[in-house]
């Protein structure tokens, strides 16, 4: 699909917007609709759009397969790690109130970390699944 000038130019403009929007959804999730799940999916959609237009090989130069796999496991680690930190600080597992001096502040912090973990997992998982489907049956990748 390398001869499609209009698609390539449009994708180059759209993809950064989508990724930025994913981050907006992630950090605006406390005040409006949004959160880790949606942000991860939107981020993955941006990457998938890029690879549909520019091909899997170029996409995997930008975001290699092992990075996506690492992200999928890191997110779960961040999520569970937040719980363990709360445990070590003297609270219960996933009880964020003890994370900071003020319980409400602690809750904010805990939700932030947990949502980041969810986002990283979801984007890693979606991109990994897409990579595996797209690379199937193609020896060159």
């Amino acid at each position: 699909m390398s001869d499609q000038v209009i698609l390539r130019v449009a994708t180059k403009i759209i993809v950064p917007t989508i990724l930025l929007y994913a981050l907006y959804v992630q950090f605006h999730g406390d005040f409006g609709p949004g959160g880790g799940f949606q942000a991860g999916v939107i981020f993955a959609a941006g990457i998938i759009l890029y690879s549909l237009v520019f091909g899997l090989r170029r996409t995997q130069k930008v975001l290699p397969s092992w990075v996506a796999r690492l992200a999928a496991s890191t997110g779960v680690l961040i999520y569970a790690g937040t719980g363990v930190v709360a445990l070590l600080k003297g609270g219960k597992f996933l009880d964020y109130s003890v994370l900071a001096h003020d319980p409400e502040h602690g809750q904010h912090l805990g939700i932030l970390f947990v949502e980041i973990g969810v986002m990283i997992t979801v984007l890693g998982v979606m991109i990994t699944i897409f990579y595996f489907f797209a690379a199937r049956g193609r020896e060159d990748l």
Binding site: V25, P33, Y79, G110, V118, M126, F132, F133
Partner: protein, 237 residues
């Protein structure tokens, strides 16, 4: 006004679902499934579940459709209906109509409709659903968590265990896809262990010439027998 929108969206959903049943081309069916997801996202918005609508629009209509299309690129999008194959194979077999599934579906649906007669009224604040933990979330989360979006605070804080489990499920699904799709790229590692390298080569050729061309050929019977033979040969070796 809201009720009119509700009615229209539900009717469109029903029509789209019927279209998914009727369409024989898988590509068109996948596209209808995408439309179905978008319509249900609209319905979720009308029903005040904006977070769910957002997720459904991004996941159901976006990622899900892309994955389905990626699968269709690998498996082909033509459905050979049982009817067509049976008439191609033999003229003696009478046409088969899905009477029994229809009967099962009608009976189950009838029982479920009978069950809905006892449901509490739609949208009534006195329903049992709205009087258990939901009032606590709505009244207390403002100063317990301090996050305006109640869905986020319930998702991440009150029901953090739930969400952690779901995240793990998503991760496990990715592991499953990796195991299923990465181990062999056109080569059967299981066969390699059982039958040795050269037999696997033979098997590969068998797959290609049995199904590469004869998928489109009018008589699929021959191709299947050929493949059977090859398989047995491989098994004996």
């Amino acid at each position: 006004m809201e009720i009119l929108v509700d009615f229209a969206l539900l009717a469109l959903l029903a029509v789209t679902a019927m279209a998914v049943v009727r369409v024989t081309n898988l590509f068109a069916a996948v596209m209808f499934a995408g439309i179905y997801s978008f319509l249900s996202a609209c319905l979720f918005t009308v029903m005040d579940a904006v977070d769910v609508a957002f997720t459904e629009a991004a996941v159901g209509a976006g990622i899900s459709t892309v994955l389905m299309l990626a699968t269709l690129a690998l498996v082909g999008s033509k459905v050979t209906t049982p009817q067509f194959r049976i008439t191609a194979m033999s003229t003696k077999v009478p046409p088969r109509r899905p009477i029994f599934p229809l009967f099962v579906v009608l009976v189950t649906g009838g029982i479920l409709v009978y069950g809905t007669l006892d449901m509490p009224p739609y949208g009534n604040p006195d329903d049992p659903v709205h009087n258990h933990v939901a009032p606590h979330y709505l009244e207390e989360s403002g100063h317990e968590i301090g996050v305006p979006n109640v869905v986020t605070s319930v998702l991440a804080s009150y029901r953090g265990y739930d969400t952690m489990g779901e995240t793990t499920v998503v991760f496990t699904a990715a592991v499953g896809v990796m195991i299923l799709l990465s181990s062999l790229r056109g080569r059967d590692t299981y066969g390699q262990e059982a039958w040795g390298d050269e037999k696997v080569q033979d098997l590969d050729v068998g797959f290609v010439d049995a199904f590469g061309e004869e998928m489109d050929a009018p008589s699929p019977k021959v191709g299947r027998r050929k493949k059977r033979k090859r398989r047995k040969k491989g098994g004996r070796g």
